[in-house]
Subunit: 340 residues, 2 copies
Amino acid sequence: MVRKPATLKDVAALANVSRATAARALNSYGYVGDETAQKVQAAAEQLGYRGNRLAQALRNGQLPIVGCILGDIQNPFFARIAHDIEVLARERGHNLVIGSSEEELAQEISLLASLQSLSIRGFIVAPTSADNNAHLQGLIAENVPLVLIDRVAEGVDCDNVLVDNEGGARKAVEYLIAMGHRHIGLLQDDMRIFTSRERMSGYQAALAAAGIAPDDRMVSVSQSTVEHAVDATIRLFSQKSPPTALFTVDSLMTQGALLAFRSMGISIPHDVSLIGFDDFNLATFTDPQITVVSQPVSEIGRAAARLLFDRLSGKNEPPQKIRFETKLIVRGSVSRRSDG
Amino acid sequence: MVRKPATLKDVAALANVSRATAARALNSYGYVGDETAQKVQAAAEQLGYRGNRLAQALRNGQLPIVGCILGDIQNPFFARIAHDIEVLARERGHNLVIGSSEEELAQEISLLASLQSLSIRGFIVAPTSADNNAHLQGLIAENVPLVLIDRVAEGVDCDNVLVDNEGGARKAVEYLIAMGHRHIGLLQDDMRIFTSRERMSGYQAALAAAGIAPDDRMVSVSQSTVEHAVDATIRLFSQKSPPTALFTVDSLMTQGALLAFRSMGISIPHDVSLIGFDDFNLATFTDPQITVVSQPVSEIGRAAARLLFDRLSGKNEPPQKIRFETKLIVRGSVSRRSDG
DNA sequence: AATAGATGTGAGATCGATCTCACATCGTCT
DNA sequence: AGACGATGTGAGATCGATCTCACATCTATT
C-alpha cells in the first residue's frame, strides 16, 4: 500500500483549523493562539508532515538549490570544489545539483537551460568556453546570481574565483629554462578552455622571455583524463626530437604523463623533466617526487560558495574577482640539462 | 532591468489563444489546428519560453531529478560513480542532486528528508549505516524508487549493486598469509559502514582459516581520507611489535598508508607489505607498484542508474541484487616473509 | 436530412503552500 | 459607552502548467 506524503491540508483538517492557520502555526508568523499552534504542531508530527518544497518554491519563485556545472567531477580538482560547495550549501539549507559539461559548450548550455527552468536560486559554473557565453549573459539579464570559478567568460560581468594560471605556468617554465631546458613540451587541454589558454600563455611568455622560439611540435592537446593524457604524451615523445622537459596543465594529465613515461621506458628526471599544474595526493610518493605548481584548491569552492550566498542574501555590490596565487613546489622531477 | 522568464500565459496571450491550446501546441497532444500550432510555436520562440519545471512537477507529482547520497565525492570511487550516474541521468532528461552524508547517519537522514520533500523521482544511496535505516524503509513505503550501492541496509528490500567485499578482502589476506605473513594489519573505516564490516570479515575469515588469532592491536580505524589514514597508519606502526603487512580497505587509505610509510622511513615491500582494496590511478607508478584488490568501479554507477531508470519507467519486478566480482591484482608491494 | 463522429478550442479545476484581505472577538482607554 | 488597537482565524487568490469537461464546428454516413 502506498502512503502519500501528508499535505498542509491534511494537517489543517486533523487540527480542525484552516490551511492558513496551519501554515501560520508551522512557520510561526502572524498571530496564532498558543493552543491552536500546539494542536497544529501535534497534527503535523502525527502525520509526519514535511512541506512540499516544490509548491513552496513555485509560490515564492525560488527553489533553495544551487546549481553547479563543472567540467568533470572525476577530476579531483573539481571534486574537491564540488564537495566544499555542497558543505556550505547544506549549512544554508540548500541542496546541490551537479552537472558535468564534459567541456562541451552545447552540453553546458542545455544543462544550464534545464536547471534554469527549475527556478534554481543561483549557479556556480566553470565555463567551458571563454567566448561563447550568451547563455551566461542570459542568466545575468534575468538577475540569477552566478559565480564563475576557475575560468572567466568574456562579457559576463559577475563574481568569479580564479587562480593565477599564467603566473603559475610561467614560473614552472622559467624554472625549467633555468635548469637548462630549451625543448619544453606542453601537454594541454582544449584551447577553448580558459585555464588552458592562460597556462599556455604563461608557457609562451616564459619561452619568449628566454628567447626560445615557440614550436608547435612541442605541444600536445588532450582531454583532461588520465587515459587521453597517456596517448597524448606518447604522441609527443614518439617524435624524432622530443622535448627534454614537459609541463602538464592539470593533475590528471600529469598522472597520464607519468604512466606514459613508464610505459615508454622514459625515466624521470633522467630522460625527461616534468612539472605539473595542480598538486595531487601521490605527487610526493612517486620516485622521484613530482614538482608541481600548486593552487589552493580548498579555498576555491568555499570562496565561490561564499560569494554566491552573499548574493542570495541580497548583497548588491559590484562583482568581485577573487584571484588566488599559485606556488611552484620544487620536488625531484626536474633535472639540470646542458645541451641546447 | 530584470527580465522575467516567459510563462505559458505570456505565450498564449501573444498567440491569441487560451493557455490550454498553447499547452497542447507545445506538448503536442490532443487536437490543435496546424495554423494555431505554428502561431504558438512562433510566440514561444519569440519569448524564449521554457516551461517552468517546478510547476510541471507540482502538477504531475514528480520532479525529473535523481537524488544521490554518497559518502564523499572526493573519494575517486564515489566520484566515478556519481559521474556515471549523471551521464545516464542526463540521457534520460534528468538532473542529479548530490549530497554527501560524510558517513554521518544524521546527515544522511536529513539530506534524504530534504530531497524527499522535493518530490524527486528516485534515489541512489550508499547508506552510511547497515542497521538504522527507518528513513530508507520510509522511502520504500512511499513507493519511491531506491537503489543502494556499494552497501546494504538490513530490512530495506530494494535493488542494490555491490561488489564481493568479503571475498576480495579474503583473497588479499590469504595471499599475504601465503607469503608468510602472520602479523597482518588492517586499516579500516568505521565499523558502521557495510563495506568496512565485510572487508573486515574477509580479513578475519582468512586469518581464522590459517589459524591466526585475531589481535586488536593489528587493527586501526580511520575515516576515509588520506590525512586521517596517515595518522592511523602511524599509530599502527608505532607499536613495539608492528604488523609486517597491511591491508587497507579503500584507495584513499592506501594512499594515506603510503605517505605514512614514507614519513616513517618504512620501505615497501622490504619492511612492510601492502595490499589495498580498490585500485587507483597511480598504483602502477609508485615504486614498487601496489598490489590491490580491484573492483569494477565503472560498472557500479551505470548498473545502479540502469536499475533506477527501469523502476522509473514502471518496471515492477522484485528487487534485483547485482554483485560484481573483485580481483586480486598482484604487483610489487608484497614480499615473502619467513619469521613467525 | 439527420446524426454520429472527428476536430478544434476555451473555461476552470487541480497540484500544495503562502499571503493578503476581511472579519471576528477581545481588552483597554478616554 | 464608544472606539481603537491587539489578537486570532478563515476564504480565496496566487504561483505556472496540465488536464478534464463542455461546447462548438465540420465532415461523413445512412
